[in-house]
């Protein structure tokens, strides 16, 4: 009993992905409004912007958004209930109107508290910067209330995502311009970069999930037929992409430095190598004269390049050798290294995937209702390569035949000829697998034009393939003639 209860509680505690997405679209509203605060402070605050301004702005916006969303949610609830026959519609209407009417009661005190009026600077102090901040908060309030009803797909779109990205970009461009024109500016761009990053991450996740929903809505499919794990999988993919971008930003500079260092070392290695070769050459020409500087014209040309090597040639040569050895080892073990890393990566991704799957309520209607059963398996090494197809057209077949005719090695001629027969069979839409035995191939070609060809070719091929016995000249020419005749007789239909 207790186990049942705990199980039920566990189930209930799972989050609905849609609720989270809806919350994300609401959070996007204050983030969209942040450039408004940014502009007002930058323009009216004498081009000074730092963490304090950013903190104030984001605090005010989120407080306003919180109040607006609570009121908006209540209005939506009452709006739904107003459709019930015994419910007074007046209440819902009052709440709807008050949703917008009470906004100054929250935003005005906030603005006055966070951006106090400065009387010491005259009219400018009265106006700036609280008026634009107040207006921004009012707009944020209205947009938040409007974002509350409906599904998350209705309140946010890809266009909104692009448009609001521009809201960030335009003021930044203006500020940059002003900064170039007015030297007395202290402008910290990092907070804005942080806000923009947050906005982009949330926006990308929402747009990614919307992609699935909008496709379903456009084609009028029942959303319940969508496997729930597709959502989580997409979430993981987009998060992976974002992690890649932001980690690239974070360690990009260091990575660049490393890359430059590696390139420089490689260049230097080349120089050392050339210098070393010339030194060896000059050693042979000038007996014990030593060095390369006194050599021929070539030595003079590379004397500059070899300057570094001259200082400590043994150490540099050792470095080059070690470096080359490391590169060589990495190259020859590349597959093993890649497998180790990819295995490690897959393990982490799988764990994350299952973690997310456990976090959210997942609906698997198609399989749950017994419409279908599904089986997913990783492809084996052999399956990773597509099976050999038939000839696409007569030209391709003739070219392959011509190339095969040039083969003189009898073993290769038999094996390649048999491959051509298999391709001819596949052209006739026979399901020939790479794992099929010669007997199976013959069975699949019964009562077809290739039956006699396979009957003749199978024993020859089997002997060459498994018995290492080469056919005699007459047998080989008969085999070749049959292959040629069979391939040319195949009817190749042009694919549309």
């Amino acid at each position: 009993m207790s186990a049942n209860i705990s199980g039920a509680e566990k189930k209930r505690s799972k989050l609905s992905l849609f609720t989270i997405l809806k919350a994300m679209t609401v959070i996007e509203v204050p983030l969209m409004m942040l450039p408004g605060i940014f502009v007002s402070v930058a323009v009216f605050g004498k081009l000074h912007f730092g963490w304090a301004h950013f903190g104030r702005g984001i605090l005010a916006l989120f407080i306003v958004a919180l109040f607006a969303s609570v009121l908006g949610y209540l209005a939506v609830r009452y709006d739904v209930r107003s459709k019930e026959p015994d419910f007074s519609k007046g209440k819902a209407m009052i709440l709807k109107v008050s949703c917008y009417a009470v906004s100054p009661l929250v935003s005005l005190p906030l603005v006055l508290l966070l951006w106090p009026i400065r009387t010491d600077v005259g009219l400018y102090g009265y106006l700036a910067p609280w008026i634009p901040a107040f207006l921004t908060l009012e707009v944020c309030w209205v947009f938040t209330v409007q974002a509350i009803p409906g599904s998350y797909t209705a309140s946010y779109s890809t266009q909104d995502f692009i448009r609001c990205s521009m809201l960030y970009l335009v003021p930044i461009a203006v500020i940059e311009l002003l900064r170039a024109l007015v030297p007395d500016t202290s402008y910290n761009v990092v907070p804005m970069a942080l806000a923009f990053s947050l906005y982009t991450i949330i926006g990308a996740i929402v747009v990614n999930q919307q992609n699935i929903d909008l496709m379903m809505e456009r084609r009028r499919h029942d959303k319940s037929s969508l496997p729930g794990k597709i959502r989580v999988y997409n979430l993981l993919l987009i998060c992976g992409l974002l992690v890649l971008v932001f980690s690239g930003l974070l360690v990009g500079e260091q990575l660049g430095t490393v890359l430059v260092w590696v390139l420089k070392r490689l260049g230097l290695s080349l120089v050392y190598l050339i210098a070393f070769i010339f030194w060896l050459m000059s050693l042979g020409q000038n007996g014990d004269s030593g060095g390369g500087a006194g050599g021929g014209g070539g030595g003079d040309d590379f004397s500059g390049l070899a300057q570094g090597a001259k200082e400590n040639p043994f150490w540099n040569i050792l470095l080059v050798v070690i470096f080359a050895f490391v590169v060589y080892m990495l190259f020859i073990h590349r597959r093993r290294i890649w497998e180790a890393f990819s295995g490690w990566f897959i393990k982490i991704a799988t764990k994350l995937y299952h973690f997310f799957l456990d976090c959210f309520k997942i609906q698997e209607l198609g399989s749950a209702e017994g419409y279908y059963t599904e089986e997913a398996e990783d492809l084996t090494r052999e399956e990773r390569f597509a099976p050999i197809n038939g000839f696409k057209n007569k030209r391709e077949m003739k070219r392959a035949l011509k190339q095969w005719q040039k083969t003189s090695d009898p073993e290769k001629r038999v094996r390649d000829g048999y491959r051509l027969l298999m391709m001819a069979s596949r052209t006739q839409e026979k399901n020939i697998l790479n794992s099929d035995t010669t007997g199976e191939i013959l069975e699949k070609n019964r009562q077809s034009s290739l039956e006699t060809a396979f009957m003749q070719a199978n024993p020859i091929y089997d002997r060459v393939r498994y018995d290492d016995t080469l056919p005699d000249a007459a047998e080989l020419s008969g085999f070749a003639a049959k292959v040629e005749e069979s391939c040319l007789a195949v009817d190749i239909k042009k694919k549309k």
């Binding site: 496709m215 037929s225 992409l241 599904e374």
Partner: protein
């Protein structure tokens, strides 16, 4: 200018991922779709197997197939959309890198016919839905749904209710290969039939008892006109389907005795006007199955008036029995039966309809038994498809 770097990098990444998915989504990608078996009977459940191979590192955010097939193949329940004669089923997949997904849909064959997967469209997209890629899949999945057989004994009743005496045909010479047992010798019995072992055992002359047999062969004639003078597509399609089921049952019954059977239909699989179908006579499961396949491919209607068909082809039916399955009866058909009776051919009518005319006593007619409250024909399939 870190913000500009972020923006630039973001824009590049978003564009690049769209381009990547657009170029690579259907590369090293394979889609297969087929039925678990090529043939099934009406009402059977088969599997539609979708196999998707993603032979590359790039995973797909989602992958969808849009399957269009006949509405008479019932699957996917509420996920499917039925319009006129087509069923449209979207099927969503999650494709990781180097993965194979096999999905088996449970398909119920509602009606006989040759059905194929008419069209499959493969749809995929990038992570943000900027680009949607579609591709037509080359699918050659086909299934022949053979007509269902019914219980004739419980479905039909003789119009005469077996009242009165009926002449039974007897042969002059008994069949030497059909021994039903031994009996005591009677004067006149041929000596060659004496069963010597039994005679020694019982100390009486015992003789083999031979049965009289006749070589029976049947022509099943199917009338695909639901009304007299009807041309082309049948007005009462469900009734025609039932006629086909009755004909299929008659064909199947010949398997018990390995009776040679042929089939005649006033229609043809290619729906060519004035052309009819007459098959060769043969016996055995393979032959009956081939006739059922033929019936599976028949259109829902006639290509020739049934009376014209009887006039033109009736004389050529050289079998001992002619079994006519029809949705209506009239005097010309009875005349045909009488003419055949004169040639020692037995004509039996299987009448799939509500009797509206007086049925003659000299013709062998079986009428569909219609229990109270039960529909004349099985409309279960129609209901399910709807």
């Amino acid at each position: 200018m870190p913000i500009l770097v972020i923006v630039f990098l973001m824009a590049v990444m978003l564009y690049a991922q769209g381009l990547l998915f657009q170029k690579k989504s259907f590369e090293h990608f394979e889609y297969r779709c087929n039925f678990s078996r090529p043939e099934a009977f009406e009402g059977d459940e088969v599997e539609l197997v979708e196999q998707v191979f993603n032979r590359k590192w790039l995973p797909l955010p989602w992958f969808k197939t849009e399957i269009t097939t006949s509405k008479w193949l019932d699957f996917a329940g509420s996920q499917s959309v039925v319009t006129y004669n087509s069923r449209f089923v979207p099927s969503f997949f999650l494709m990781k890198s180097f993965q194979k997904v096999t999905r088996r849909w449970k398909v119920k064959c509602l009606k006989r016919g040759i059905f194929d997967i008419e069209r499959v469209i493969l749809v995929s997209t990038d992570l943000l839905g900027q680009k949607t890629m579609t591709q037509n899949a080359d699918v050659k999945a086909q299934i022949a749904v053979l007509p269902q057989t019914i219980d004739l004994d419980s479905s039909f009743v003789s119009a005469r209710y077996l009242q009165g005496d009926h002449p039974v045909k007897n042969q002059l010479i008994p069949d030497p290969f059909y021994v039903s047992g031994v009996r005591e010798y009677r004067p006149g019995d041929p000596m060659k039939n004496i069963h010597w072992n039994a005679t020694a055992k019982l100390s009486r002359i015992m003789i083999r008892n031979m049965e009289y047999t006749t070589r029976q062969n049947i022509t099943v004639v199917l009338n695909l006109q639901s009304r007299p003078f009807e041309q082309g597509e049948a007005i009462d399609a469900p009734q025609m389907e039932h006629c086909i089921r009755v004909a299929a049952t008659l064909l199947e019954r010949t398997l018990e005795e390995s009776t040679p059977v042929s089939l005649g239909i006033n229609s043809n699989i290619n729906n060519i006007d004035k052309e009819t179908t007459e098959t060769n006579q043969n016996f055995g499961r393979e032959h009956v199955l081939s006739l059922m396949r033929l019936m599976a491919a028949l259109p829902q209607g006639s290509t020739q008036d049934f009376l014209v068909y009887l006039r033109e082809k009736g004389e050529s039916f050289s079998t001992t029995d002619i079994q006519i399955v029809t949705a209506y009866l009239n005097e010309e058909m009875f005349d045909f039966a009488r003419r055949c009776a004169m040639d020692d051919k037995r004509v039996t009518f299987f009448y799939v309809g509500i009797p509206t005319i007086e049925l003659p006593d000299d013709c062998e007619i079986y009428v569909l038994r219609q229990p109270r409250g039960q529909s004349l024909v099985d409309t279960e399939g129609e209901e399910a498809a709807r």
